[in-house]
């Protein structure tokens, strides 16, 4: 187990990076605590896989240092890093049984046979694979194979972190749910640090204690799911976290305040010159819709209602042609074309200056 520190860590695939566009991963500082779960989240090509490969040792970073418990491992080969990894496609030793698969990392490290038997039994019971120990590993289903991959990491007592590279991609939708839960349980029972790479924000939100959002090789924000949701540091995080994305309403500076015709919510106007774009960001979940169209901060006409089951998404047109979306459970009682009153708590209306959180 270890604390992982990324110290000014960056990577460029070209030898002499000219300008920031040459970086697959722009230099970043992060500290990951022992025993927690982390997610690297972003669209394809955002640098999350490069970051994972640097941690696993597949890629040697062009800048900065990587520390495991204070020890510099930047140039240490994968095999000596004490990490484990689960890949997108299940990797198993196809000629071996489940038991032999689980024992393999210990055999490679010349652990005593009695100790190997004991560890394999412990891990098998943790993963509920006890019944399958003597089956050929290749006969198992994809989700069980992923558990074997995970087990090969868990069986080692010295493992610093388990890296999960989109491990749920090839799993049946019905099994995804189960496997995600299993991963969380294992983290809780063993206290091993887990780092998940994914493009699926809901997967990241439900899995991780802390999420690192990335885009174009640049760290956007790192924080708990709650922080990312309620205080996205910029418009990209607001867009990427949450579905539907955060509503962004343009503001104008008038009489010392930033305001919009759409809602009677204002923010303090800045003192600096304001050639900048100011926007108000409101989560669809933070908008409450009421039948009363008078005692509220704005009125919108319902343009569209999407039923998503328990809850629904309502698209509204406000004054000045501003379109917003709201998420509600009362969608079944609404009809398109009617006017609804809109309420938003002032705390939930965030101010963005040129796309960056200003408050």
């Amino acid at each position: 187990m270890a604390k992982i520190v990324l110290e000014n860590l960056g990577h460029s695939y070209s030898a002499n990076p000219n300008g920031e566009y040459d970086y697959a991963l722009k230099p970043v500082n992060l500290t990951w605590q022992d025993g927690k779960t982390y997610a690297l989240l972003g669209p394809s090509g955002c640098g999350k896989t490069t970051m994972l490969n640097i941690i696993s040792g597949l890629v040697s970073p062009s800048h900065g240092r990587l520390l495991f418990d204070g020890q510099d491992v930047t140039n240490i080969p994968t095999s000596e890093r004490n990490i484990a990894q689960v890949f997108q496609f299940p990797v198993i030793y196809s000629t071996k049984t489940v038991r032999q698969n689980l024992a393999f990392p210990l055999e490679c490290r010349r652990v005593a046979p009695a100790r190997i038997r004991q560890r394999v039994a412990e891990v098998a019971s943790l993963l509920d694979l006890g019944y399958a120990l003597d089956m050929p590993a290749r006969k198992l289903s994809a989700d069980q194979k992923q558990l074997i991959s995970l087990g090969r990491g868990l069986v080692r007592e010295d493992v610093s972190a388990i890296l999960l590279d989109e491990p749920l991609t090839v799993i049946d939708p019905q099994m995804k749910f189960m496997l995600r839960r299993k991963l969380r349980e294992i983290n809780r029972q063993t206290g091993v640090t887990m780092i998940l790479v994914t493009h699926d924000q809901s997967e990241a939100m439900s899995f991780a204690d802390e999420i690192v959002v990335m885009k174009d090789g640049l760290l956007q924000q790192s924080g708990t799911p709650e922080e990312l949701f309620s205080r996205p540091q910029n418009d990209f995080v607001g867009y990427f976290i949450g579905s539907p994305p955060m509503n962004m309403i343009n503001l104008e500076a008038r009489q010392g305040v930033l305001a919009t015709d759409a809602l009677s919510l204002t923010h303090q106007a800045p003192t600096e010159s304001s050639n900048l774009l100011y926007q108000m960001g409101i989560r669809p979940e933070h908008i409450s819709l009421v039948d009363d169209t008078v005692a509220n901060i704005g009125v919108g006409i319902i343009k569209k209602i999407e039923h998503l089951g328990v809850d629904g998404i309502v698209t509204l047109e406000l004054a000045a042609n501003v379109i917003i979306k709201a998420k509600t459970r009362k969608h079944t009682q609404m009809t398109v074309g009617t006017a609804m009153g809109i309420n938003v708590r002032h705390n939930d209306a965030l101010l963005y200056r040129d796309g960056v959180l200003a408050l």
């Binding site: 080969p77 994968t78 997108q88 990797v91 393999f104």
Partner: protein
Amino acid sequence: MLSSKHFFLLPALLTLVAIILFPLIFTVRVSFSSWDVFQSGLDFIGGSNYVRVFEDERFWQSLKRLSLLSIISVSLQYTLGFALALAVWKQVRGGRSLRVLFLIPMMTTPVVMSVIWRTVFHESLGPVNDILSAFGVAPVLWLSSATGAFISVLIVEVWQWTPFMFLLLLAGLVSLPKEPYLAAAIDGAGTWRTFWQVTFPLMAPISIGALIIRLIEASKIMDTVYVLTSGGPGTATETSSYYIYIRGLRDFQIGYSAALSLVYLVIMIISLTIIAKLLLRTLVGKDE
């Protein structure tokens, strides 16, 4: 009903049937005749040609020799081809020209190269004995001793066909996924373990394909033998094909050689099927 799907298959199928089926049926018919130099034509003598086959010690000897030769040469080709493929697999510098170089022997005509090899193995004027003598080794009777001739044929076969193994195995290696290797590194497996636990199992289907193809081709060996040793000295390098050739096209015992070829064909099909099944079971662990 002739639909578009027949447009694809029929031309090739009919061509092959027309070219192959007549000779095959004809061979079966001839094998029941006494057609030879003195009596050309299709009479009917029952199964006496087949009885003769089973009593023909020289044929069974040639079959034994052929099995030995093909199993040894194909094993060598596989081992060397795999080793070569692994050696140049990840090599970047100079790798391409080495790969091209290693492929060249399979592109050359076996009989033509055998003509060259004859001069190479020439016992007084050839370079091999010359070089060996520089190391103080006495001249080897490459082509005129039984063992020497067998080894010469083996060397030429290995030279000619290792590239074929190399080609198939390297093509397989370059298409392997990289994750299993990273996983093995993470699990702490060294070079040796990684090869046996990752590379070898992943390459098993390709290995089986390559081995079977080479065994099929090796069992037909005849060109090299014809040019290099003419089956000699004595019958030391006489393979089945070559023996059937002698009986059929040199002695002109058409009927008898037809029987020989059919027996040989049946043995080939049965043994190759068994070998394929065995390879599948040992390398892939299929349990059907």
